[in-house]
């Protein structure tokens, strides 16, 4: 049976096909993350100090798109695997093995886990969905992850994101779907001064350069003349 006929994550772990696909370390070493060419720029452009802000890419996270009615039996089975499904906009659930689930819509969720979960998590979720109505799709290559952190992180985002990012309406641990620099992206506040952005791979270059541009002003120790 060829790879095209059967998604790799349906194959039993350790099977011959498996050994030749995701577990092939030679292939893994050849992977290029969508913003890898900007890593040096990110390091150089990041700002330290009390007005500091740091930008970095977290490559190759495992992401699984889940479409399911959360109160259906299949939804309950999927929630068992992920440690719950968020019920309203902004909510993020955290489960075992670093799995988090973001709310994208009433029946639309994005599970995010560390990269090493990619050969297990999608298969587990597909098995949990079973014959139930819905879908589970491995979207790990669809988006990459940017982490923007530091005292000025919110100021950088507020220049190009129209959503209200003030802590009173955007608390730690919430995630919304919005636009940053016209790039549609989920925006997840993981810490007081830490934000995660998930641009699609083809927009990662644009958003990376856009954010670099946004944090440039904080490298200057003088206050802007208009203050």
């Amino acid at each position: 049976m060829s790879l095209l006929e059967k998604p790799y994550f349906l194959m039993p772990k350790g099977s011959a096909e498996m050994a030749n696909s995701v577990n092939n370390t030679g292939v893994a070493a050849l992977r290029r993350s969508p913003a890898e060419h900007l890593w040096t720029d990110f390091t150089v452009g990041s700002v330290a100090g009390e007005r500091g802000v740091t930008l970095r890419e977290v490559p190759f996270q495992t992401m699984v798109g889940i479409r399911v009615d959360p109160v259906s039996e299949a939804g309950v089975r999927l929630a068992d695997v992920t440690g719950g499904l968020p019920v309203r906009c902004g909510e993020v659930t955290t489960g075992p093995a670093g799995v988090s689930v973001l709310w994208l819509g009433p029946d639309d969720f994005l599970a995010i886990a560390p990269g090493d979960a990619q050969d297990r998590l999608p298969g587990l979720l597909v098995a949990a969905l079973g014959d139930g109505a819905g879908q589970v799709v491995d979207l790990s290559s669809n988006r990459t992850t940017f982490e923007l952190s530091g005292p000025s992180a919110r100021a950088v985002l507020e220049k190009s994101c129209a959503a209200d990012l003030h802590p009173r309406s955007f608390a730690v641990g919430t995630a919304i779907t919005t636009e940053v620099g016209k790039v549609p992206t989920p925006l997840w506040k993981t810490g007081e001064e830490t934000f995660m952005l998930f641009p699609r791979a083809s927009l990662a270059d644009h958003l990376g350069r856009w954010l670099l541009d946004g944090l440039k002003e904080f490298a200057s120790d003088r206050n802007p003349s208009w203050l």
């Binding site: 309203r88 906009c89 994208l104 819509g105 009433p106 639309d108 129209a162 959503a163 919304i176 779907t177 919005t178 636009e179 549609p184």
Partner: protein, 110 residues
């Protein structure tokens, strides 16, 4: 910038939404029995309301769900937001895009 209140996500900027035209246009019960003119009216004829208008919107960069809105086409004042399949809430002012009979355009064959 207008602020729309998505029934799922709360207040968001107008630029996150896309317009879907007049709401509550019923699909014909027997589409195969319609004349060409009736079919064209179903497809293309819409009210051009001055005042409160029931219309569909989709929160395309947010939850990607459709919903209905009552909006004043003169002042752009959003009077109410309600989910798909629900009836428009009662307002002090009448909603003026309930289907009316449309006179035939000049030269149209019935």
């Amino acid at each position: 910038m207008l602020l729309f209140t998505c029934p799922n996500c709360g207040p968001r900027n107008e630029t996150e939404f896309h317009y879907g035209g007049q709401a509550h246009v019923p699909y014909p019960e027997h589409p195969d029995q319609l004349t060409d003119r009736e079919w064209a009216e179903y497809l293309f004829y819409r009210e051009n309301t001055k005042g409160i208008f029931a219309e569909r919107w989709v929160h395309s960069t947010g939850c990607r769900q459709w919903f209905n809105m009552l909006r004043d086409t003169v002042s752009y004042d959003v009077k109410a937001v309600y989910r798909m399949g629900e009836q428009p809430p009662a307002l002090a002012e009448p909603v003026s895009n309930q289907p009316t009979s449309i006179s035939a355009p000049e030269g149209a064959k019935s």
